[in-house]
Symmetry: D2
Subunit: 364 residues, 4 copies
């Protein structure tokens, strides 16, 4: 590796964990801000995997790399991965091995002055541990379509995921009405109901099921009956994938013979509704289209603000922090706080209150 | 019922079978053309169901009914249904009953001079039989997202269904690339592969599986390996829901314990690909969003042309015909021919040739 | 008029001033919340015009009126108007007349218990004056694509207007790059630069001109030269319609011979840039498509929250207030404060800072 | 330049004239098909400009160059230009110079076996003349948003341009209805009315003005009055930019003081309608967003079929031909015929008939 750019700093950036819309806009903002400072930016490939391989896998990022259409694209030009905690890395022989020193070595090989990690709580926990052990400066940018990261009002990728889910409801409504059906839409959300809640309100749902609120089929059926009584012949139901079956288990356990996964909680709920109401019911599982969509304007705005601020934190020598959105602006918080604090749907928050005001049932 | 409009004709219109995008644009065009002739249009509710009920369920359609946003909406303002061949109608006690006379009676009660039926081959067969038995004039407008109706190049709803599938591929591509995944998209198409073929080409698929071309997993795996060899780290696979398993059965039989349906052929293919290639594979089943979307400009154009021509056929006293699209314009054909002639993907047609030219594999 | 609904209240709702996306979602939320209370909702047509006419122009709004597709549509089902301050109403003979008593009379004739006005600062000033004079309870819901209303972080319609402008930039970028052009996009914003600022950041603009920051052509030209120096062959420029010419006047005065309006400030800036840089320049004036688009998910969320809260204010007997968005939730403020307080772009706010961090030039 | 690839052919490809959606999909298809033959593809930059410069400006195109998102993007990765007939090339000193030999020299320098030119009639005329003079094999792929190229049913870029115009009408309709306005939309179309006609039908226009049909303001005003009489309070008017003023001149001559262009025919028509009907009228000039949009599925399909067939023509040694769309498939025609034959709107074609059936006025 050649000597670091003496005229300025050399910083690394990587994307880690599940991809989402807006990652490229963060990368672009980081490159623009760092270039403005006269720094060099190295984009590390495949999250920490790029630092594990030899030679280290990276690409130099300059203004030309991030021009034009790039910020408008979903995914991440750097690649990402969910595989492998480097402190207990799964080896081909089935054992787990601590490979953290290799990653720290990869970081050193690039001659970096600091690292920007774009990730969620899991990625931050690993990156923070690596930074502590390796003694290198690190700053985090929060991204997750689930929006369950603590200490930030919103994470990159959430707004777009909601928009894709709302668009699906916009499309299911006319076909539901034409056929007098109950349409069930299963949306993403590993542990929290944020996508389901926002999409359900904006998409005109009658029922929203989220893991934060226990439901009963009787309650859902009663709501669907009240919709019928009002003279309407269809209903829209949004279910977060994080919702459990009434038996308290995830749907995969129930439906899978062995390791195979067919269907999801949406299918389970759809069947229960059909049984309880006699309604013609159809289920749509939205899946990965929620991740790869062109980022919404708001995701691009937030991503851009985050990227600029992350570089500024490095310029100011303020490390181990996560940039965050609060009250219309960018702040930063200790990354350890963000890792520890989980954000599920607030039951007395504005959105739940709005949903109840719209006579949306949570099945409770 | 009051006497028919002596100043002109009174015609009925109904939508039958599965809904799709563009039905409202047909209805609007019919109302505009008939109003131009000074005729009256009655919209019958829920396909032939509206003629079965007493009082007959219908609404008068005038220019005000079809103004503004209506043509832009998916679904059908008249409602539709897949239920019930009136010649063998399923009764609550489980028996089948010939209720065709009731429907013909409903038609007579409205004092109609002719009926426009918007439907697919199944609906046309029933409507034609009713028209023959009842001795009333009937004209058909073809609609089906599957585009498998004979004697017309294209049916209403197909273009939009393709567009929704392409949009899904546009969204799956960046997330596939970010994670080095094989993304499988299952699209609609009851018996024919038209949606899969067009969407696969326009959406940049590497593999397209359609029922018209037998596949092997080895062949699919070889294609995915050749993509890897070219230096690309992801692949897109489109599967028509009409594709059978290698065992020659529909996937429902295999995956269902009893009558329940979990998953589809996409899940089956995804699992086989993962097993054969070791690739990380994800499956998306697009489902009903393909039906309810806002109609594409082309679907609105075709629907409008069909609606106008259907009314003109009545004006000219030319009945038992289906309007059709051929070589940039509207023609009409005997409806019996359309019912008899099924249109699957032509293996030596322009689209298959184009797909092969793009090195897309059909798994053969 | 029949007697008021004794079982509950009867409230009126109207939309006033320029239309925007999300108005129907407010109306829907009001009807849902009020119906939940057992109240009756009357929708007044064409803003205060409906109260001016005899018979008073209104429609009863129940759940059936707001079902289905309605919340997804742009515009307002009630109609709206910019015409006519009722305290100085333009009469056919050219004189101005105080017709406020007629409007108050219209309100009384409907037997209303309270009025919800959806509008901007101008509409609120008039409605508040009417409410004071007429002694009737009133609550305001803020809407304006310009987002320049004080005391609320965001108004209904803004998010969608930004989204439409960003989409235009997404489309102009590839054609700009293909032809090596400077593309100028003029966006709405009567007096403030909010749309231009947010759209410019999210849409990848190189230059953003807003009325809050004086510009010089030299500075813009220098930015475009620096883009060229970086190796990029095109540039995107966003101009708020509120920007003045360098001579300090609105562009209409300059370009219009008499009362006719051809072109706008975008044309002016485009010509100046072409002259100063020699670049091939093209101008797009986005216009009214920013108003009528399908509301974005965020606009629907905010609109829904506002509608519910507005009804709750009436239920609680808290009048002369405007609902507002603050820090992720709904609050309410005295409507007089909202009328008095104007919100232009904060020069030290997060968005301006982000834009500067991205090396976007404001022409200063 | 190194020796040509002996294992196969080396072909060049360039895009020429105004850009549009779908060009990248043609390029991708050419690369895929040629790579399948074992050939090499060189992409020439900026149309014929790349062959004029020394060193010749080009990039090698392989499968990696055209992977992933590229086919989904508007514009052309090769760049294009409208400048400069090489047989009469505008020199800096204001004279015109025959530089055709330089371009032929550039072609030779690359060691090409054939050239694929993607363009319109103007580009084809020049390319054909160059190919004749230089004695090199050439094949043309038709692209133009205007769809006015003879001998092909459709050209690349048209479907997307129509879709963008329809989307604009979808957005103008609600705001028109809310404010009781007449909305005028000016769409592209240099000499023919194809975009206006198709977009007007699919977008629900009441009036469509195209250069092929003379109009009178009286007739337009009568149509708007009949809309009012039917109880509707708004109207949509689509105007092709190719429409002339009533004085028979283009609007630029009228509105421009000198060489500057402010406004267009839309503004002229809007003003005339306002004067004749007293209606509140607003004008939107759609402009360049019609070119740069993400290509529609149909444009990608046609582009793909064209690209594959163009390579096949070279493989078969059939030159001086243009690929074309006819009756659901790809054919090819002598390029001289395509250059000579201009395609304007057929007055007795299916679309005009459909428009009249929908009671759309052409102002005649």
């Amino acid at each position: 590796m050649t000597a670091p750019n003496k005229a300025g700093k050399r910083i690394g950036i990587l994307t880690s964990g599940g991809d989402c819309a807006g990652l490229n806009a963060v990368i672009r903002a980081v490159v623009h801000r760092a270039t403005g400072y006269g720094w060099q930016v190295l984009g590390i490939k495949e999250g920490t995997q790029g630092l594990l391989q030899r030679p280290v896998q990276y690409q130099t990022l300059d203004l030309g790399s991030v021009d034009g259409h790039m910020m408008r694209q979903g995914g991440t030009i750097l690649g990402t991965t969910n595989r492998g905690d480097p402190f207990a890395y799964p080896m081909p022989d089935g054992t787990l091995k601590d490979r953290s020193d290799e990653i720290i070595g990869g970081y050193r090989e690039l001659g970096l002055d600091a690292l920007i990690g774009i990730g969620g709580d899991g990625s931050f926990a690993i990156l923070h541990k690596l930074a502590q052990k390796g003694g290198f400066p690190m700053v985090g940018v929060p991204k997750t379509i689930d929006n369950d990261l603590g200490k930030t009002e919103v994470s990159v990728g959430y707004d777009t995921a909601v928009a894709v889910a709302v668009e699906a409801l916009d499309r299911l409504q006319p076909t539901a009405a034409s056929h007098h059906r109950v349409m069930v839409l299963e949306v993403m959300g590993r542990d929290a109901g944020h996508i389901a809640l926002a999409a359900g309100i904006a998409g005109g749902a009658d029922v929203i099921l989220i893991p934060e609120i226990p439901y009963s089929i009787e309650s859902i059926a009663a709501k669907i009956q009240s919709v019928r009584d009002s003279g309407r012949n269809f209903a829209l139901v949004v279910v977060s994938e994080a919702v459990k079956t009434l038996e308290g288990t995830g749907v995969k356990k129930i439906l899978q013979g062995g390791e195979k996964r067919y269907g999801g909680i949406g299918d389970y709920i759809g069947e229960k509704i059909a049984d309880a109401t006699g309604a013609e019911t159809r289920v749509t599982v939205l899946g990965h289209v929620q991740r790869g969509s062109m980022p919404s304007p708001r995701d691009r705005l937030i991503a851009s603000a985050f990227g600029v601020h992350a570089v500024d934190l490095i310029a100011e020598g303020r490390f181990n922090r996560m940039v965050a959105w609060s009250n219309r602006g960018v702040i930063d918080v200790p990354i350890t706080e963000a890792i520890e604090h989980y954000s599920c749907v607030e039951l007395d928050g504005a959105l739940v209150k709005t949903a109840r005001g719209l006579n949306i049932s949570f099945g409770d």
